[in-house]
């Protein structure tokens, strides 16, 4: 996805499958009956996002890139249903959907994030649908509501992709594999594919660290959000190392990726350092320098952010992002709500 942020596709084809699947899945959600004990979780998500760019001297209503799906003013649902028999749980179904305001297209955009079925095979969890490919920090770090961009927004890998995968947790960590379309948000079959594998030592929620090594190989499309910028599948072969480390009030996330990205030599170095302050870590302050090189051209960005959890349902966030390539200073505010239904 090494595309110019300002390039626009001449023709935008819409996939009917996304709407069909979203419609079916929403029907499943609506059929879920409230109960004292349930086998599902349903959340309503709403966010308002507004930004100002020093480059255009205008207000805009998205976090960083107009064509990217995250983050925009939107309403959505996050649904997880456990599937079980008499012998216990055998799988799960998840759906994460948003209806977002697409600025500057001036229209609503249907966005499907998680849309997967997971089967617990015993030796591994197998998934099918739209999920996180087994690559780097993005495979384990839920950024669905966050403002600061991760490497997929810089063109390295995909936050979500269509396909299948397997994941097995072990005493010392995790092994994950996935085979996906290499098209990101839209479903495309133009000879594109993406095979990924990640091995991690450490379980973040238990050991306070996770050290991962990823390998990615395939022929991927040039995509920004739902916009296919380049329909020609191009060779991608990336190796990466990622580390997440928690200590007292501090959170550190590092990722280094290098290889060939969409036919060009590419390297990226990502660092996010955060500190949790106030009672229950309600206030989080973060800094994020990112440096990347594509086809010999060096670029960097410096971002900082603050997130304040007003209550369990509502967070207020702020981001400043300096783009070293354009000299743009971008200021973004977000009100993000996530409410259990």
């Amino acid at each position: 996805m090494t595309c110019s942020r300002n390039s626009r596709p001449e023709e935008i084809r819409r996939s009917p499958w996304r709407k069909l699947f979203a419609g079916w899945a929403l029907w499943v959600i609506l059929c879920a009956c409230p109960a004292t004990a349930s086998d599902y979780l349903l959340y309503l998500e709403a966010q308002g996002v507004a930004g100002y760019s020093s480059r255009t001297d205008e207000a805009s209503y998205y976090s960083w890139m107009a064509d990217e799906v995250m983050q925009k003013p939107s309403l959505g649902v996050d649904f997880l249903k456990r599937l079980s028999s008499e012998a216990g749980d055998f799988g799960a179904f998840a759906l994460q959907y948003r209806l977002a305001w697409d600025d500057p297209e001036d229209r609503f955009q249907s966005q499907l994030y998680n849309a997967w079925f997971k089967y617990k095979a015993g030796w591994s969890d197998l998934w099918l649908g739209h999920n996180r490919p087994a690559m780097g920090l993005s495979s384990i770090f839920d950024t669905h509501g966050l403002l600061l961009p991760t490497l997929p927004m810089y063109g390295f890998g995909f936050d979500r992709d269509w396909g299948a995968g397997a994941s097995r947790d072990l005493d010392w960590g995790n092994v994950s594999l996935s085979l996906t379309t290499g098209s990101g948000m839209p479903v495309r079959f133009d000879g594109n594919y993406l095979a990924t594998a990640r091995v991690a030592k450490g379980v973040l929620g238990k050991d306070n660290y996770s050290l991962g090594a990823s390998l990615t190989s395939g022929q991927i499309l040039g995509v920004m959000g739902y916009e296919v910028i380049d329909r020609e599948p191009r060779r991608t072969f990336l190796g990466g190392v990622d580390l997440t480390f928690l200590r007292d009030f501090f959170e550190t996330r590092v990722e280094v990726v290098s290889g060939r990205n969409r036919g060009e030599r590419a390297t990226a170095i990502f660092l996010r350092e955060g500190v949790n302050l106030m009672d229950e870590g309600r206030l989080k302050l973060e800094i994020q320098p990112v440096s990347w090189q594509t086809a010999g051209r060096d670029q960097y960005s410096l971002a900082s952010g603050a997130s304040f959890q007003v209550n369990g349902d509502l967070a207020l966030r702020f981001m400043h992002l300096y783009d070293g390539q354009t000299g743009e200073n971008r200021f973004v505010v977000q009100a993000y709500g996530y409410k259990k239904m």
């Binding site: 709403a46 209503y61 309403l75 749980d89 309600r282 349902d313 509502l314």
Partner: protein, 214 residues
């Protein structure tokens, strides 16, 4: 202009008290239930995941009763009426043999996740500390510390005051040693979480068998 109005509408939706009764929804799941259930409950063949919350079960009256039993009010992000509690019903074939349940608790360095492995009578079979970012995590996760909880039930915690961290009667809870004296806040948080966990399980699963006349 149009976009600005839409942004404001989203923000107004978020600020609408009808849609946001200022209640948290911070759940507490096992990192890897398949592995953890096998490890914590040897002999199990499977498990069923259930989600329960006070607002769906007993609402505010139940919340008041739970607070009374705990001896402290529910507060902050982890203790609201709509928090989804994940209860793992442990199976041997089709037969139920116990439960695993975790709660979030405010610690010195953010959230602590305390899981209890319980038999069908509400007796603690084992204790598991999942999330804890404090540098004293190693001591709190030690087998020696966890063993002190084995065999306890909610009845043992009745005399433990979660506010003062003291017991009003000599009992087994009184004999639980703090493995990291420099982390007294986290030690008290762990004990409060254990008592809260047992009360919630009594309310949700055991039919209030440990409920005294309060």
């Amino acid at each position: 202009m149009k976009q600005g109005i839409i942004f404001l509408l989203f923000c107004l939706f978020l600020a609408d008290p009808a849609t946001h009764p200022a209640l948290a929804a911070v759940g507490c799941d096992l990192n890897d239930p398949d592995r953890d259930v096998k490890r914590l409950f040897p002999g199990s063949t499977g498990y069923k995941t259930h989600y329960m919350s006070i607002d769906k079960q007993g609402g505010d009256p139940q919340l008041r009763r739970i607070e009374q039993r705990l001896g402290d009010s529910f507060q902050g992000l982890y203790e609201t009426v709509d928090v989804p509690y994940t209860i793992y019903e442990i199976l041997n074939g089709a037969e139920k043999i116990g439960y695993i349940h975790g709660v979030n608790q405010k610690g010195h360095y953010g959230g602590i996740q305390v899981f209890l492995v319980l038999d069908l009578d509400g007796i603690i079979k084992s204790f598991y500390l999942q999330k804890l970012t404090s540098r004293a995590a190693t001591q709190f996760r030690s087998a020696e510390f966890g063993k002190q909880f084995e065999g306890l039930s909610l009845a043992d915690f009745d005399a433990y005051d979660v506010v003062t961290g003291k017991t009003t009667a000599t009992g087994r809870v009184n004999r639980i040693n703090n493995p990291a004296p420099e982390a007294a806040d986290d030690f008290r948080a762990v004990l409060r979480a254990a008592k809260k966990n047992l009360i919630l399980m009594d309310e949700f699963v055991y039919g209030n068998r440990f409920l005294n006349n309060i």
